[in-house]
Subunit: 350 residues, 2 copies
């Protein structure tokens, strides 16, 4: 059983690390809060797991710890934010907050980011909009290319994700957060760690044959959902979150797992839709509740115990981890202790 | 070889049929133009193929031939349009035009439709926005439920499509138009007509086993792209295009292939993004050109002759059919002649 750490202790620890690495206190608190939220909802590859990598990038000069994101293009329902090469969470939060504020009067708003960085799980920013009572949508260019075009071999595309969050009245909110590949690359790495084979359909090798040994993932290509359809979605999300904002796309995308110094120029986009601009928000939320119940209560395939709505499982994880703490595997604990020692910052839980 | 009919003759024929069925001339011309465009780009299940069905619905009282769509909710960057239960093309065109007009000043705009009807291929409306120099996105609730929730048996969802159109400088525009199921239902019907088996992965039977005989499609369930991911996308697109607008979703969706009289209350949504609100539109279009060439020219899997960009094949079809005419199979020709006879309207090509 891995150690479990209360969310508040995790948040405090991460904020302390960021401050020790030169990040202003308010920014450190914001990013630590969002990364803790990632851990709470079960996005384990996007929370404290990423801390050492982000700090490594800051110390290598690849990311600006004192970044000041700012709006560089603006219309009543749109904005382009330059993230000043800071922690991706800062510019993306600014995009979400700007979209919310604009949508409240304009009905909808779309805000893009350039010169951002990896910003954690897509759902964070869709949820941020949802918590303001709106429908939130988020797109991002992934931080490493793992996907070739359909029929191709060159990794020109990433797992470019989409998240959409829709508020409900009594049901858990509907929150979809998905990569455009059958499996996210993190799932492949997890199989390799566990010594388990991958199912056919996750990856192919360079001859186009199924690749099921996760240790050979380096020679493999991820497969997009629905074949050419997922390829199309990854391309389109990349154009909307990257190219439109003057951010990296295609061969410009830096593999931020392998390279700590090159500016990534990561792009993201947030859409906010004010439900009140289309009718009564409470009536909408009740109708979403009804649909959720209709789906959950509908007839199931033999052997299926339960039909889930998108976001239901992460809501359950969040409730459990908020009560019981966030699991921290021993090797991650060791890495975090080393990091605290290097920076002279308080240790986790200290 | 099927007969080939010049696009202009097809358009004129359809406009004449609509006028004979009581549709005002301007509306008849608009819808006939859009349906001809559907035939030109190769969306054969969405052009003149649908004419008899639409007319049947008008004559059965299920669709209003003299509908006047109007804006019922409005903000500077959003609108909700009530389609007055007319031909879906009318309300959806109004949504696209309104979105374009609003986006020009606001940066982006989102317009929803309720009390619409089937409006043809999704790409038409994304392209309409693109032709105004913007990025267009379109979502719709499909006009018949063919998809169960993931793990379920009840057909609560449709193939809810998305289309996105992105302008280029010299390359064919990037136009993605896809259902959220592995195969659209029309493809299944085509296999049945041809007596060909379906590949595994298109449908399952009610025990969850692969179903490959298209004649048994009535007992089968379409599969979503990427499993639970495509289910999530179909649900989310339905909430955005349907529920948000007060349009049908879930059990409310009427099977318009089987029922000519019940009001469908079909929902659609159009997003327009003015590229100029994010930077120089010409620089953006040139960058999209570069990406398209980068992808097309990249290394291919063994046995792959060419890598396509979304929209390239429909652009080639459009060029060919604009020159050579639209193919009309004999049985469709017979159906159209009968229709013209019943309405006392000029025959196709007459």
């Amino acid at each position: 059983m891995p150690e479990r750490v209360p969310a508040e202790a995790l948040r405090r620890f991460m904020a302390g690390i960021y401050e020790a690495a030169g990040v202003p206190a308010a920014d450190a608190a914001l990013v630590a809060g969002l990364m803790t939220e990632a851990d709470l909802i079960g996005a384990d590859g996007h929370g404290v797991f990423r801390l050492a990598q982000y700090i490594r990038r800051i110390r290598a000069g690849g990311m600006n710890p004192r970044a000041v994101p700012r709006i560089v293009e603006e219309r009543p329902a749109s904005a382009l934010i330059d993230g000043d090469n800071g922690l991706g969470h800062l510019a993306t939060t600014m995009a979400a907050r700007t979209a919310i504020e604009k949508a409240r009067t304009q009905g909808v708003a779309w805000c893009g980011v350039r010169h951002g960085n990896h910003a954690g799980p897509a759902s964070l920013y869709a949820r941020m909009v949802m918590e303001a009572g709106m429908i939130g949508l988020y797109l991002a260019v992934g931080s490493a290319n793992h996907l070739p075009p359909w029929g191709g071999l060159e990794l020109l595309l990433s797992t470019n994700p989409i998240a959409v969050a829709v508020p409900t009245e009594e049901e858990p909110p509907i929150v979809l957060d998905m990569a455009t590949t059958v499996a996210a690359y993190g799932k492949v790495k997890l199989r390799a760690q566990r010594g388990e084979a991958m199912p056919e359909g996750w990856m192919i090798d360079r001859q186009g044959q199924p690749l099921t040994d996760p240790k050979r993932a380096g020679e493999g290509l991820l497969l997009p959902i629905g074949g050419y359809k997922g390829y199309g979605l990854a391309l389109i999300f990349g154009l909307l979150a990257g190219t439109l904002n003057g951010a990296a796309m295609g061969r410009e995308v830096v593999d931020f797992n392998a390279d700590d110094t090159t500016v990534t120029n990561t792009g993201q986009a947030v859409l906010a839709i004010d439900i009140a601009a289309f009718g009564d928000p409470a009536a909408f939320r009740r109708r979403v509740d009804e649909l959720a119940r209709e789906i959950r209560g509908s007839e199931r395939l033999p052997g299926v115990d339960r039909i889930f709505l998108p976001g239901e499982q992460s809501a359950a994880t969040r409730a459990r981890r908020a009560a019981e703490g966030v699991p921290i595997p021993p090797q991650l604990r060791t890495q975090l202790d080393t990091l605290a020692g290097e920076l002279g910052a308080p240790r986790l839980g200290a």
